[in-house]
Amino acid sequence: MYIEDKNSHQTHWKEYFSFSSDHKVIGVQYLVTAFIFFLIGGLLAMIVRAELLTPQLNIVSRSLYNGLFTMHGTIMIFLWILPANLGLANYLVPLMIGARDMAFPKLNAIAFWQIPVVGILLLLSFFLPSGTAQAGWWSYPPVSIQNPSGQFINGEFVWLLAIAISGVSSIMGGVNFVTTIVQMRAPGMTYFRMPVYVWTVLSAQLLQLFCLPALTGAAIMLLFDLSFGTDFFSPFSNGDPIIYQHLFWFYSHPAVYVMALPAFGVFSEVIPAFARKPLFGYKVVAVSSFIIAIVGTFVWVHHMFASATPNWMRIFFMASTMLVAVPTGLKVFAWVATLWQGKIRLETPMLFCLGGIVMFLFAGITGVMMASAPFDIHVNNTYFVVGHFHYVVFGTVTMAIYGGIYFWFPKITGRMYLESWGKLHFWLSFIGANLNFFPMHPVGLQGMLRRVSSYDPEFTGWNVLASLGAFLLGMSTLPFIANMISSSLRGHKVSNNPWNSTGLEWTIPSPPPVENFEEIPTITTEPYNYGEPSRFSIDSRTI
C-alpha cells in the first residue's frame, strides 16, 4: 500500500538545467549527461565493430578508424564511467552518511558543469580539418606528438585540453568527497558503520587525488612537445617516451580501480538487500577497498612489460599485480557467502549485480593471466587485452551502474520502474556483452592485434560474433531508455523503502526533501542488519 509522504520533494525539471548546488540534482545531472555520452561512445564502438565485420577496410578510412577508437575509449572512460560513478556517489554519499549536502556544494556544481564542456570539445574535434586525436586513449608519444596536419589547433591539442579540464573537475570532486566523508558523518556514524559503498567511494576518490595529478603533469609536458617544440618525450632528440608511459599508467591503472571500486560498493549494497542477509564479512569487505587502492597504486608497470622494462621491474610488478587478486577475491568470496542460503529475489538490480560479479570473476582471471610477464608479452597489444578490459569496464562497472540505477530509481523518483523491461534490458546486456567481448580472447590469443581496421581472414568468425554482440548491446539501451523515461513520469508510486533495505537513505521520503533529513539521525549499529532491529534512532523513536 502506498501512502504519499508529505515531505517528499519533487524536483522541478528546470532545476536540472540550472547551476544547482543540491547534491541530488547534481547526481542526476551527472547520470543523465554521462548516459548521453555513453550512447555516443557506444555509437562510435558500433561503427568500429561494423568495420570489423569483414577483414578488409570497407566503411571508414584508416585515419577515421583511428579517431573512432580513440574517441570511443576517451568518451567511455572520461565521460561515461567516471561521471556516471560520480552521479551515483553524489546522490548517495550524503544520504548514506546522514548529511544534508556535500561539504562544498558550489564546487560540486562547478565540477559537474565542466563535464559537458569536455564532451562538447571532444565531439567538436571531429569537425577540425585535422580530425580528432588518433593516438588511442593512452596517447603515447611519439605518435601523439607528430601533428601531421601542422595546425596549432589539432585533434590531439583539443584532446589534451579536454583531458586537462576533466582532470580539474575530478580533483574538485575528489576534495569534495573526501572532505564530506571524513567530516560530515552523522553522530554515531563511525567508519565501521559506514556502508561499503561509502568506503569504496572514499578509497576511489583518494586514488583520484593521489594519482590523477601525474596524468595532468604528463599531459602538460605532452602539450608542450606537441605545440611548443619541446622534446620531453621525443625519442628523436634526447627525450624519453617511456617516462610518459610511466606517468600515464601511474594514474591510468589506478583509474581502473577508481571506476571499479564504486561498482564493488553497489554489489555490496544490492546483494544483502536481495538475499535478505547481512553482508558477509562487512569489515573485511570495507577495508579491502583500501587495500585494493593501496596495492593498486604500485602495479602500473604491468602495462609496460613490453616497453623495454628491466627484468627486476617486471618481476616486482608481476608480483604486486597478482597481489591485487587477494583483496578483490575476498570481496567476491564475501558476496557469494552473502548469497549462500539467502532468500534470493531475482529482480532487475540483483540480476545486474549477479551478472556483473560473474563477468568480474572472468575479468579477474584473465587479469591474473596477464599479470604474468611471459604470458603478457605473448598477448601484448592483442584483442586479449581489449577483451579483458571490456569485461572490467562493461561487464563489471557498467553492469553495476545499471544495477545501481535500478536499485535507487524508486528513491530518486519516488516511482517504480517496469520490472519486465528491466529484465529484458538485463538479458540483452548480459548476452550482448558476453557475445561482444568473449570472442576477443580467443582471437587475441591467436594473434589479432588491436587498433587495426583490417585483419587476417582467419579471424573473421570471431569478429562477426563480436560485432553481433556489439549491435545487441546497442539495442539493449532501448528498453532502458524507454523504461527510465516512462517510469520516471508515470511509474506507479512507491513507499519510501520498497526493497525493505536497511540503508539510511531508505529512511527518508522518496524523492528526498531538499534538506534530506528532517533531523540528523544517530547511528547505533553496523550496516546491513537484515533480520535484526533497526539501526537508527531519532530521539527515542526507531525507524
Binding site: L107, V175, N238
Partner: protein, 191 residues
C-alpha cells in the same frame, strides 16, 4: 519550499575548508612531483645537459630570490599570529608585506627569464627550466592574487568574528609554494 527543514545552505562551513584545502595541496604537489621525476630521469640520462656555451645557471641571483621567498614565509607566519591575537592592523601590514615580497620574487623571475642565454626549445635544459620555473611562478602569481583578495576581505568590519580559515588556507598555500621553490632551487640550480 518553505518550513524549517528547507534552509539549504550552499556555503561551506569553516572547518571543511581547513580540512579540504590541505587535501587539495597534497594532490597538487603530485603534479610537481611528476615534473621533478621527469626532470631527474632526463638529467641523469643526459650528461651533456646545457646547450653549447652554457655551463650552468646564475646561482647568486636565484639565491637572492630564494632568500626573499623563504623570508616571506616567515613574514606570513607572523601575520597569522597577529590575526590570532586580534592585532588586525599588524596583520594587514605583514600580509601586504608578504604580497610585496611575492611580487619582488616574480619580478626577479621575469628578469632571469629575460636574461637567460637559452630559450624553451634549447633542448631538455631549456624545456625543463622554463616548465618548472613557469609552473611554479604561476603558483606564486595565484598566491599573490589570493593574498590581495584576502587583504581586501580583511577590510570588511568584523570579518574574523567566526574564524579565519580562508586566511589560514592562503598562508598554507604560500608555505607550499615556498617549499616547492626550495626543492626546485636545489634541483635546477645547485645540482
Amino acid at each position: 519550499m518553505e518550513g524549517p527543514i528547507n534552509r539549504h545552505t550552499s556555503e561551506p562551513a569553516e572547518d571543511h575548508l581547513s580540512f579540504g584545502f590541505p587535501v587539495f595541496l597534497l594532490s597538487e604537489s603530485i603534479v610537481f612531483v611528476s615534473f621533478f621525476v621527469t626532470y631527474a630521469i632526463l638529467r641523469i640520462k643526459n650528461p651533456h645537459w646545457f646547450p653549447p656555451g652554457v655551463s650552468g645557471l646564475d646561482i647568486p641571483k636565484a639565491a637572492v630570490n630564494t632568500v626573499i621567498l623563504v623570508a616571506s614565509s616567515i613574514v606570513i607566519h607572523f601575520a597569522e599570529r597577529a590575526l590570532s591575537r586580534h592585532k588586525l592592523i599588524n596583520f594587514r601590514r605583514l600580509w601586504l608585506l608578504t604580497a610585496g615580497m611575492g611580487i619582488i620574487f616574480l619580478i626577479g623571475q621575469a628578469m632571469e627569464w629575460h636574461n637567460m642565454p637559452f630559450g624553451l626549445n634549447a633542448g631538455l635544459a631549456g624545456a625543463t627550466f622554463y616548465l618548472l620555473t613557469g609552473f611554479h611562478g604561476l603558483h606564486v602569481l595565484i598566491g599573490v592574487i589570493l593574498l590581495l583578495l584576502m587583504y581586501r576581505r580583511s577590510l570588511i568590519p568584523n570579518n574574523y568574528q567566526t574564524g579565519h580559515s580562508g586566511v589560514d588556507a592562503v598562508a598554507l598555500f604560500w608555505h607550499f609554494v615556498d617549499v616547492i621553490w626550495i626543492i626546485l632551487f636545489f634541483l635546477l640550480y645547485i645540482w
